[in-house]
């Protein structure tokens, strides 16, 4: 029996991070370090209008005066911001003629990740913006979406082709003064996705951005901006992976969503950044600011996230419920294994009347990891009849990991109804034995049990992602019970 356990463990160690390989491609990389010249250089490389450079410089000057916050339940080694490369873009081969031609090496990279950027190969109706390091490689189905007036392109392209929209919305939901990493991102962001859904339009397919970090010692700082006009609908997906490296790499992104009257934005993330090795060496620091402004009446913003990667995850996808009857949702599964750390949750800020928010957070901790839920539900003075329901469940595997819950509730209106439920459970040896006795091995049993636990959240993901997420949960937890 013991021998068999060793075999399983052995197999698990063989079955580590799947996306840890590196693409051998020449890059246009600037030297390490951060100062105003670097920012000017990035802006110039991207041929940006003056307003954007001014924005970057203001953000940088603000950031320089700030201290990295330390309130999270995380142990973060000191980050040397002068030791990071702030811009690295894969060089496309000289032979490529049009914008739509992609270097075969890059094409291969995304094929291998299961993200074919060749439109002919796409079976499922998903439009992809593929981002590697600091720049967008290709956005698919652009023309088809344009027929409906939908703009879906890389952030850099939007800056060139739709500067007015960028100027109008960028930084309105997450101002550069918001927090340390938002300021840093605003100073050095390089690419990301932009998405504009005109009035009354429902996107005919899922829109998605796939982020890949490839270059070493590089930080990835992308911005995503989604604007949904009145009566529109968009379902947006985001996926991320990175190669295995011994050094930690910083990923500090900003996502801003604006939803107008009756608009509905559904944002789903499957985050699988390299988590570091079994001893906690390497891995991505995923410090991201994601926020939606449900500004219109009857608007709705939903965040769904499955987080299995990153050495440290630190983020709170939030919704500001400004419009009357606005709805905010947050469905999250966060898995930590080995030496991973996560401090994640959400903020629901109720401002409009009859606003409603739902929070379902499922944490799974294994190995030596620490997993914290931190959430704020704030009901402001004028938010008549606000409703919130929060459910925070933690599952522990083994006895060396930690699960923590930090719920904050601020209510300034007596008509509010706020409910909070929390549970902590341990994956039971008797549950695993029950599965074993029916012929299901330990690995598959854990997969079944964990997916059952996370089902409520997984069910919120679009079909294509749900399957990937299920597999990911199982792989992330392999070898954690024994």
């Amino acid at each position: 029996m013991e021998k068999n356990k060793d075999n399983i463990l052995h197999k698990y160690t063989q079955n580590e991070y799947k996306h840890g390989w590196v693409t051998d491609i020449e890059s246009d990389t600037i030297p390490k370090g951060l100062n105003e010249d670097v920012i000017r250089m990035i802006s110039k490389k991207k041929n940006e209008p003056q307003f954007l450079l001014d924005f970057r410089l203001k953000a940088y000057r603000y950031w320089k005066e700030m201290q990295m916050p330390s309130w999270a339940h995380l142990s973060i080694p000191e980050i040397n911001y002068q030791d990071i490369v702030y811009y690295s873009a894969p060089k496309q081969k000289a032979g490529t003629k049009s914008m739509d031609d992609v270097d075969p090496e890059l094409q291969k990279t995304f094929d291998r990740l299961g993200i074919p950027i060749d439109e002919q190969k796409r079976l499922a109706g998903v439009a992809v913006d593929a981002v590697m390091d600091s720049s967008s490689v290709k956005t698919t189905f652009k023309e088809k979406l344009a027929e409906k007036g939908i703009i879906f392109c890389s952030f850099s392209e939007a800056v060139q082709n739709h500067p007015d929209l960028i100027k109008e919305y960028m930084g309105t939901v997450v101002p550069y003064t918001d927090n340390y990493f938002a300021a840093l991102n605003s100073a050095v962001f390089s690419d990301g996705s932009f998405c504009y859904i005109p009035k009354g339009v429902k996107t005919p397919m899922e829109l998605s951005t796939y982020f890949r970090i490839n270059a070493a010692n590089t930080g990835q700082f992308e911005r995503t901006l989604i604007v949904a006009e009145d009566d529109s609908y968009v379902s947006y997906l985001e996926g991320c992976t990175a190669p295995i490296r011994d050094n930690n790499q910083l990923h500090a992104a900003i996502v801003e969503i604006v939803a107008k009257n009756n608009a509905h934005v559904k944002y789903s993330t499957v985050q699988n950044w390299y988590p570091g090795d079994k001893n906690g060496k390497g891995g991505i620091y995923n410090f991201v600011t994601k926020r939606g402004m449900a500004q219109g009446n009857n608007s709705k913003i939903s965040w769904t996230q499955v987080e299995t990667g990153s050495a440290i995850t630190w983020k709170y996808p939030s919704v500001i419920l400004r419009g009357d009857n606005a709805v905010g949702e947050f469905y999250s599964v966060a898995v930590t294994n080995n030496h991973q750390q996560a401090d994640t949750g959400t903020k629901m800020i109720h401002i409009g009347k009859n606003t409603k928010s739902t929070i379902v957070s499922k944490g799974i901790s294994a190995g030596y990891s620490n997993n914290s839920y931190r959430g704020l539900v704030k009901i402001t003075k004028n938010a008549e009849n606000a409703r919130n329901f929060s459910q925070c469940d933690s599952m522990l595997m083994g006895d060396k990991c930690g699960a923590h819950t930090f719920p904050y509730i601020e209510t300034n209106n007596k008509t509010a109804i706020v409910e909070h439920e929390a549970t902590t459970s341990k994956i039971g040896e008797d549950q695993i034995f029950y599965c074993n006795q029916r012929g299901i091995n330990e690995e598959d049993a854990i997969g079944l049990i964990v997916n059952g636990y996370a089902k409520e959240v997984i069910n919120k993901l679009p079909m294509e992602f749900a399957v990937e997420a299920q597999t990911l949960l199982q792989i992330s937890l392999e070898g954690s019970v024994g």
Binding site: G428, N436, Q437, R438, G439, L448
Partner: protein
């Protein structure tokens, strides 16, 4: 089919089974009776491969193989089924998904293709009827929110689906009312064949009014102290276990 020879087991240094000898052949139903704490459930757990118990002595041969070298899922795939005394709940995992996974694992082991969904559903319908299981039971998560009786019937339903060679039913009758008892017994009887065998573990004789055992064994303080035919069960019911306790101590 099953040969247990001089089996001794311990948990945290305390000996529970103190030399069990038992032989079960194809086509037979054996009943193991005994008072609380006599080691009945331990025997069931050891047969299924629960690691809590240390085997200090003895051997178990199942279908010519050394059972103690097989892990629990291998035993299951080789046809051993344990009807749990306390079936565990697995929230969020649908009974159908669970059963389909289990069934296909067992088929894979036999070199068979996974069952087609339509065939699986057909099989579910048939077996449900056999154990007279309420239709909505299969739409729920594994044992979650099931009443005691539903859990037990669900065990028999799984047994029917998996079609094991050797079934061990650990106190399947406990907590059942008379109707549920009859349903469970009918299930067991209708699954009986020339090729399989069943070990029924029970505290009370009443289940044996519905399932007629070929052999009855009395387990007392970790040993089988008496074996006989179905009449032994009636004798126990009339005289109680004290009678045997006296007999053992005067030996």
């Amino acid at each position: 089919m099953l040969k247990i020879k001089n089996l001794h087991t311990a948990i945290e240094g305390t000996e529970i089974l103190k030399g069990i000898d038992l032989e079960v052949n194809k086509g037979e139903i054996h009943a193991i009776m005994g008072p609380n704490g006599s080691g009945k459930s331990t025997l069931a757990s050891v047969l299924a491969g629960r690691e809590l118990f240390e085997i200090t002595q003895g051997e178990i041969i199942y279908e010519g193989k050394n059972l103690l070298e097989m892990n629990p899922e291998e035993r299951a795939k080789e046809g051993i089924f344990l009807g749990f005394q306390y079936p565990v709940e697995i929230p969020g995992v649908s009974m159908m998904n669970f059963l389909k996974t289990a069934l296909n694992e067992q088929r894979k082991h036999k070199g068979m293709e996974p069952l087609k969904s339509s065939d699986f559903l057909k099989m579910v319908r048939e077996k449900k009827e056999l154990v007279q299981i309420d239709s909505n039971l299969t739409n729920r998560s594994v044992n979650e929110g099931f009443s005691g009786g539903e859990k037990k019937r669900n065990e028999i339903f799984q047994m029917a689906m998996l079609n094991p060679k050797l079934s061990i039913l650990d106190e399947t009758d406990s907590g059942l009312d008379i109707d549920a008892l009859r349903i469970v017994a009918n299930g067991v009887n209708s699954l009986k064949s020339e090729d399989n065998a069943t070990i029924v573990i029970t505290h009370y004789q009443r289940l044996l009014n519905y399932i007629i055992p070929d052999k009855v064994h009395v387990l007392y303080e970790g040993k089988i102290v008496k074996s006989g035919d179905k009449n032994l069960a009636f004798e126990l019911e009339n005289k109680g276990y004290e009678w045997l306790a006296k007999e053992v101590s005067t030996e």
